[in-house]
């Protein structure tokens, strides 16, 4: 019998190793797996390369992981946001590297990585600083840059509900990068608000099929970044 549920967030992230590449789902706070990120801070892995659209806000979740000095490099499209202070300070003082990627290119690099596509051409960034030094090729009279697929050792993601097989559905715009990240990681770890029995999710409605998911943790009442930031919480 397949049952991918593990006891808690600590067990789910226990084997994340120093220097790992970790994709973290979410666009701002929507879809951010805060409890898994906090468990990763407690676990202690360092020298991580983290892939996320942003760099977190306040001193919780992703921003707390960065503040704890565990992230060597961020791959993202928009590293400054409202209440985002940790990353800018560490970036300016040279404590963290940044690979800035246009948002659609980031999504497609992850999708390609998960789909076994090593590289692709895109018109995005041609003629701009972010296209500099990239291989150019012309198709039908238009220039495109070569971009490489992106994979990860682990993905930390958040869903609304899952069954023991790892089929997942999401809440509204919390879906964002998560389904493609689930496909691109060797080990995908999902925290969900509710766990349901096999067969309870409508097969027509499943967004992430269980083959892409390896561990499930139930977090019944997930925290929201904006609420924690408003309370002045600083993790740990």
């Amino acid at each position: 019998m397949i049952n991918k549920q593990v006891a808690d967030a600590a067990e789910a992230v226990a084997d994340i190793f120093d220097g790992a590449t970790v994709m973290i789902g979410g666009f701002g706070e929507a879809g951010s797996p805060i409890e898994l990120i906090h468990a990763l801070i407690d676990q202690g892995a360092a020298g991580l390369t983290v892939v996320n659209n942003n760099t977190g806000s306040g001193e919780v979740g992703l921003a707390a992981l960065i503040k704890a000095g565990r992230v060597a490099k961020m791959i993202c499209s928009y590293p400054r946001s409202l209440n985002s202070t940790v990353f800018p300070e560490m970036y300016r003082s040279g404590q963290i590297q940044l690979e800035l990627v246009p948002q659609g290119t980031l999504a497609e690099r992850i999708r390609a990585g998960g789909a076994g596509i090593p590289a692709f051409y895109t018109p995005t960034s041609v003629g701009t600083p972010l296209g500099e030094g990239k291989e150019l090729r012309r198709f039908d009279g238009r220039d495109y840059v070569l971009e490489y697929g992106l994979t990860a050792d682990f993905a930390l993601i958040k869903g609304l509900a899952a069954d023991p097989l790892g089929n997942v559905i999401y809440n509204k715009t919390a879906r964002n990068f998560t389904p493609v990240m689930a496909t691109a990681a060797t080990t995908t770890i999902v925290q969900v608000t509710s766990l349901v029995a096999k067969g309870e999710l409508d097969p027509e409605s499943i967004i992430t099929p269980g083959i892409f998911v390896h561990r499930i943790v139930r977090v019944g009442e997930p925290a929201y970044e904006s609420v924690l930031v408003a309370k002045g919480v600083s993790y740990p």
Binding site: F27, G28, E29, A30, G31, N53, S77, Y78, P79, R80, S81, L82, F87, P88, Y91, R92, L98, L100, V101, P102, Q103, G104, T105, L106, A107, E108, I110, R111, T122, P123, T124, S125, V126, G127, T128, P129, L130, Y170, N171, K172, T173, A174, R175, N176, F177, T178, P179, V180, I207, Y224, E225, S226, V227
Partner: protein, 228 residues
């Protein structure tokens, strides 16, 4: 006489209203943050536009009533929004397939500079201490069928934003179709900036003096056609 100098040209709201007039019924539209967001308020009665937000929603509606929102239903500016009847959620790769694949009809963006060739700079001033952040801007200008810029004609310091060559880091090359400013509506053509319309009370010379490249006047036959 009072001491308040009367403002020449359109307000932000009037600029948004002017753009809204030009968006056909049934268009799929992505609006940038700032003045572009105001466009939704001025869509003429009887037209239905479908708003796209790149973080995964078609059919985006206005902000929720206070306390009625969901922190996981947000727009690309990370503000809470609503989903209208008929809305659809999707993931980021599908969202950018809509953008890059040319499925969206129109994107309305702000700009730091636009060149007479249609190049746009709108993501970075290139300042050495700035944290570089691009988001989806480069994908939008590369992929959406029509790109309109809505911007003040000049910077706060009075420098032209419509220029011969952008000096700020580029977002995209030769991608802009039309510019709506407080002073005028201007098309990008193979011959450069082509005036389409002057804001009420604004003269051609006034706009030309504030434009950083050659501005082609409205041809007489076009002007007449405009009044018919």
């Amino acid at each position: 006489m009072n001491t308040v100098t009367s403002k020449i040209g359109l307000t932000r709201e009037q600029m948004a209203q002017r753009v809204a007039l030009d968006i056909p019924d049934g268009s799929y539209v992505n609006l940038g943050i700032g003045i572009p967001e105001l466009v939704t308020r001025f869509v003429p009665e009887g037209r239905e536009l479908i708003y796209h937000t790149e973080n995964g929603l078609l059919g985006m509606g206005p902000s929720p009533e206070t306390g009625m929102g969901d922190p996981e239903l947000i727009n690309a500016g990370k503000r809470q929004v609503t989903a209208l009847p008929g809305a659809a959620y999707f993931h980021q790769a599908d969202s950018f397939a809509m953008i890059r694949g040319g499925h969206l009809d129109l994107c309305v963006l702000g700009a730091l500079q636009v060149s007479e060739k249609g190049d746009i700079a709108n993501w970075s001033t290139g300042a050495p201490d700035a944290i570089p952040a691009v988001g989806g801007a480069m994908d939008l200008v590369a992929g959406v069928k029509s790109i309109y810029v809505i911007t003040q004609h000049c910077t706060k310091h009075g420098r032209p934003k419509l220029v011969a060559e952008c000096t700020y880091p580029l977002t995209g090359l030769a991608v802009i179709d039309r510019i709506y400013t407080d002073l005028a509506v201007i098309d990008i053509t193979p011959r450069g900036f082509q005036l389409v319309e002057l804001s009420p009370g604004v003269s051609f010379d006034y706009v030309r003096e504030r434009t950083g490249a050659r501005l082609l006047p409205i041809e007489e036959d076009q002007r007449m056609a405009g009044y018919e």
